[in-house]
Amino acid sequence: MVDLAGVDLMLDPQHPLASRLLALSLVLPVAGTAALLFGGKFQRGKVYEQRTQPPQRWPGLLSVVLAALSLACSVTAALVTRAGGTISIDGGEWIPGLGPAVSLYLDWLSAALLLLLDVIGLMVLCFSLGYMKGESDQRRYFGGLLFFIAMMKLLILSGSYLLLFAGWEGVGLASYLLIAYHFERPLAAHAATKAFIVNRIGDAGFLLAIIALGFSCGSTNFTVVTAASGAIPHGTLVFICSMLAIGAVGKSAQFPLHVWLPDAMEGPTPVSALIHSATMVCAGVYLLVRSTPLLTLAPEVGIGISILGAVTALLGATVALAENDIKRVLAYSTISQIGFMFLALGIGAGHAGMYHVVTHAFFKSLLFLGAGAVIHSLHGEQNLVHMGGLRKQMPVTFWCMCIGALTLAGIPGLSAFFSKDLILEAGLESGYKFIAIVGFATSVITAIYAWRLIALVFLGETRGHHLTPHPTSPSMRVPLMILAGCCVLVGWIFVPIQWNAWRIMLGSLTAAILGVGIAWYFYVNRPRARNIIDRRFAPIEAFLRNRWYIDAVYEEHLMEGIVYRTAQGAAVADTLVVDGAVNASAWFSRQLSAASGSFDRNAIDGVVRFVSATTRFFSWPFRAVQTGMIQTYLLIFLAGALAALGICLSR
């Protein structure tokens, strides 16, 4: 029987109201997406220019209202889990065969991310009201953002790996759509495709992990997996963890799959703030923290993740040091900071990694929105070389970004100091010196590029741009100030620091101050000294400018060289060999039938014709007399009779 009862939601009996609110918090953005993307008409017109939507206000306002309502629901629901409680909602099977998978689950981990998503989502939507003013296609923009929020909620709230994967791909689609918002720009279109395909490589691993988990545990639900994790054979467990890690590496833009994130900066800047720095790219971290029960049983995979994270942290930070595009500096910084989180995860410090997710989300979205304000006021200029001296024209943005940059640098008192400190502490305790050393080195470099950014944008003299900057509207300024406040306060709300680890704190404090000091010296105090450094270390700079040559190797050797050539080879082989064999057999059949036809005509029919010709040849004397004329016959008869008579007479 086709059972429709399967979709009836089983609300959590202990928290009926909170479960409803939680479901509502998921439904609101879904409804908003539907209303925005499918609720209006497509513009019709004879020429395509008329089909562009005129700027509208309502999409933005509607999505801000929905996001605010959704935040209220989430807060109420999350308060229930404050004392370590959980909410779970079960909805039966989605794809039968791997156990029931439709379930929502809220514990401290998902609650933290849920609130983070809702707060930053609301800030970004508010900011977008000002940033997107006057742009066409507002429905597509805000609809895409709401769709992202809905899918990210599905990702965060789902209680099973399978449903999480649906959200995982959903945010990928949202990211694709928003990177390609300006789809007429070839670079944006290319970046969107690239992001999706590179992510797919990770997704392939994730899919295999889900299938393996489903068969090993009988279900992909987190609670079942946690309970059954001890019984999974070690080989399978290592396989599952490695595949999960591949998925996380793709989504969180870690080496070697990090190349899509800098290109994704082709999307509008608020999109980069929400999706490509604060929330979606941290989904990989969330996935691995969720899988802690599995990862603790496969420490060898954990160490791999840590090493990968350390390499990525260093790679991102060094490249950020040499980048001149303001958004790409921040993109590489994101890659580097998530590398830090991965570094923590692998050595069993998932809580530290998660803490850094939260603090990073605030300061990085602040930095991105600040960068957005700068780009907006400079009419689209993104090159640091052409900025400078903006602190007087944009004081609010300047101070807010200062707070963001100093938080990134790890200055004590600001939130990221605490989270970064926890990670470095875990690194030292883990006993892997390599990881701790890379961690400290990266901290110094991070502080340098963070302050370099501020120096090049706001300090010094005005360079290059001659346009008068746009004023920043209040809807853009207020979110910046709120996020800056969060950067300061969040660290103090949860201070999980062990004050006896003062040596590490001293170390990271030194790293931060050293880094900011170096940046101050070279970029503010003595800009000329930088030229000397630039000249002396030119090869290193070229290496960093070219992003460690990774992108070039991928594009030229891997894609062009291997994949595309293999594909071309396959296509040629298809026409020449596989289809060639078919056409050759057709040709052969035709030749064979031609030959047999000619054999038939000449040999077999020849024999027949030979027989007939012979017969005809030998029959001519008879034919000659067989004229059919009675006179001839009479004549021959007469001649014969006379001859016979003659013979008789001559005897």
């Binding site: 029987m1 395509y48 070839p186 290319h190 392939a204 299938i211 396959a570 064999a581 078919v582």
Partner: protein, 500 residues
């Protein structure tokens, strides 16, 4: 005994008869008759659903419903024996829907020779329906070959510039396969008759014959040639791109959505139960799986370098059909169920892709990918629907394509992890060729001025794509009913295959 199933199968044929008696010059009348016949058939086929929805317990005992049996040629043991289980039901519904859509998509065709055109589509529909409902080998073979003729004419008369080459290639290639199919069927018929003394073509009886392994083996390969050409499996696939590129839009849709399914269905319905010991022997399974995996990867790679929009979609079918055959030869519940689901989903999403290519070809009379670019600005609704089709075909969760591919992958994983690990690369590559196609045609700047005045989807075109888009979402969001529908049929099949 209800004759509903016969009615569904022969309604298109009845429509064809009406069509033949209608005056040839009255284009609108002919069109109306053809559309009505297909629509009535579709509605009638919906009445086949109730027993499957309401009678789960009965289905577990015997998955076949609407069985009709009549003596046909008693001297050789051939019967008119038809019936459907969950697998057949889904394919029958797909057939009636896709045929209706194909006929609707031909609304604005050139009025010349309309009569023959519609007649051929209706004949094709009866043939395909017959293939999916026959439970007698002789009857099945008859319908199997009936399908060839109308498709030959559809491509050969109404196709593109190289139509006669493509039609001939399609016809001869498939005929070549069906000769071996007939040989295999006769082999079973004779071997079974010799062993039991009863000469019959009835599938259920033949499936009980326990033939010696070597006999099963050669029969498997004979059937393989028949079915594999139709699927098409690597390396017997090269008729497909030619036939697809040259066929008119409706022809491509019918070919991709229905005709390819006949091959996969043949493996499921005939190869597995008739020669189970051969079909489950490691040697044969390995060959079949390797061919499937090659098709998945190779088909996708070839897609990457196609310059013609339609031939790209055609090669993507090779890749997707590789998933179907992989699922079958995983020989477990997930694999078989996934294979059926993938057939349905491929019918929906590839049908949609071919329809959309047809719509754009009607406007621009070119299918070169390089002739487009930036179309999303000009035809936003078209781009939206095309995007849905692309993501559905690329297997994005919450759309239909994912359900089948995921289930097949899990089945393959259960059988052998390596198979799943290779097949999953196909999912990466499918995203690559499809999104790249989308980028080159829909995104970027509008490069050609000719494209500036393209009109967006018309109301008729919207009506045509709507059911497919709706199904793509429905199956992707809530596939559980399909699984429940397929479970008794697939379980019965597994019992037959894995019997001791």
């Amino acid at each position: 005994m209800s004759h509903l199933l016969s009615l569904v199968v022969f309604l298109p044929l009845a429509g064809l008869l009406v069509l033949l008696f209608a005056p040839g010059g009255r284009f609108r009348l002919l069109r109306l008759i053809a559309n009505a016949a297909a629509a009535i058939t579709f509605v009638a086929s919906l009445f086949l659903m109730p027993p499957f929805v309401n009678g789960a317990a009965r289905l577990d005992a015997s998955p076949f419903q609407f069985v009709e049996r009549a003596a046909w040629i008693p001297s050789i043991g051939a019967q008119y024996l038809i019936g459907i289980d969950g697998i057949s039901l889904l394919l029958v519904l797909l057939t009636t829907l896709i045929s209706l859509i194909a006929i609707m998509a031909s609304w604005n065709m050139n009025p010349d020779r309309t009569k023959l055109y519609y007649a051929m589509i209706l004949l094709l529909e009866t043939g395909v329906l017959g293939v999916f409902v026959s439970l007698d080998l002789f009857l099945f073979y008859l319908f199997w070959d009936v399908v060839l003729i109308p498709m030959y004419f559809i491509i050969g008369i109404y196709g593109g510039p190289r139509r006669s080459y493509a039609a001939m290639k399609f016809f001869l290639y498939t005929l070549f396969g069906s000769v071996f199919l007939l040989l295999g069927f006769l082999g079973i018929y004779i071997e079974n008759g010799r062993a039991t003394g009863v000469y019959t073509f009835e599938l259920a009886k033949l499936a009980q014959a326990d033939l010696p392994f070597d006999v099963q083996q050669w029969i498997f390969w004979a059937l393989f040639l028949g079915f594999a050409v139709k699927v098409p499996m690597f390396p017997l696939h090269t008729w497909l791109p030619d036939a697809h590129v040259e066929a008119p839009t409706a022809g491509s849709v019918l070919l991709a959505s229905l005709l390819l399914k006949m091959g996969v269905y043949g493996f499921l319905r005939f190869s597995l139960p008739l020669v189970p010991r051969a079909a489950t022997s490691p040697g044969i399974v390995n060959v079949m799986v390797v061919l499937s995996l090659v098709a998945i990867i190779y088909g996708a790679l070839v897609c990457l370098v196609q310059r013609d929009w339609k031939s790209l979609v055609a090669y993507s079918s090779v890749s997707h059909m590789g998933f179907c055959t992989l699922g079958i030869f995983a020989l477990n519940f997930n694999g078989l169920t996934g294979s059926v689901l993938e057939q349905i989903n491929h019918g929906i999403s590839t049908g949609l892709l071919f329809l959309l290519v047809g719509f754009i070809y009607d406007r621009r009379h070119t299918r070169e990918i390089a002739d487009f670019g930036g179309i999303a600005r000009v035809m936003p609704l078209f781009a939206t629907v095309f995007g849905i089709a692309v993501f559905s075909s690329a297997g994005l969760p919450l759309l239909n394509g994912f359900i089948g591919e995921f289930t097949i992958l899990s089945g393959a994983f259960l059988a052998n992890r390596t198979w799943a690990a290779v097949a999953v690369l196909g999912i990466v590559l499918s995203a690559a060729y499809l999104l790249w196609l989308f980028q080159r045609t829909m995104l970027g700047p509008l490069r050609y001025d000719v494209n500036r005045t393209l009109t967006d989807l018309t109301t008729r075109e919207r009506v045509i794509v709507l059911p497919l888009v709706a199904l793509a979402f429905a199956i992707g969001l809530y596939p559980a009913p399909l699984f429940q529908l397929l479970r008794p049929a697939v379980n019965a099949l597994l019992v037959q295959v894995h019997r001791p």
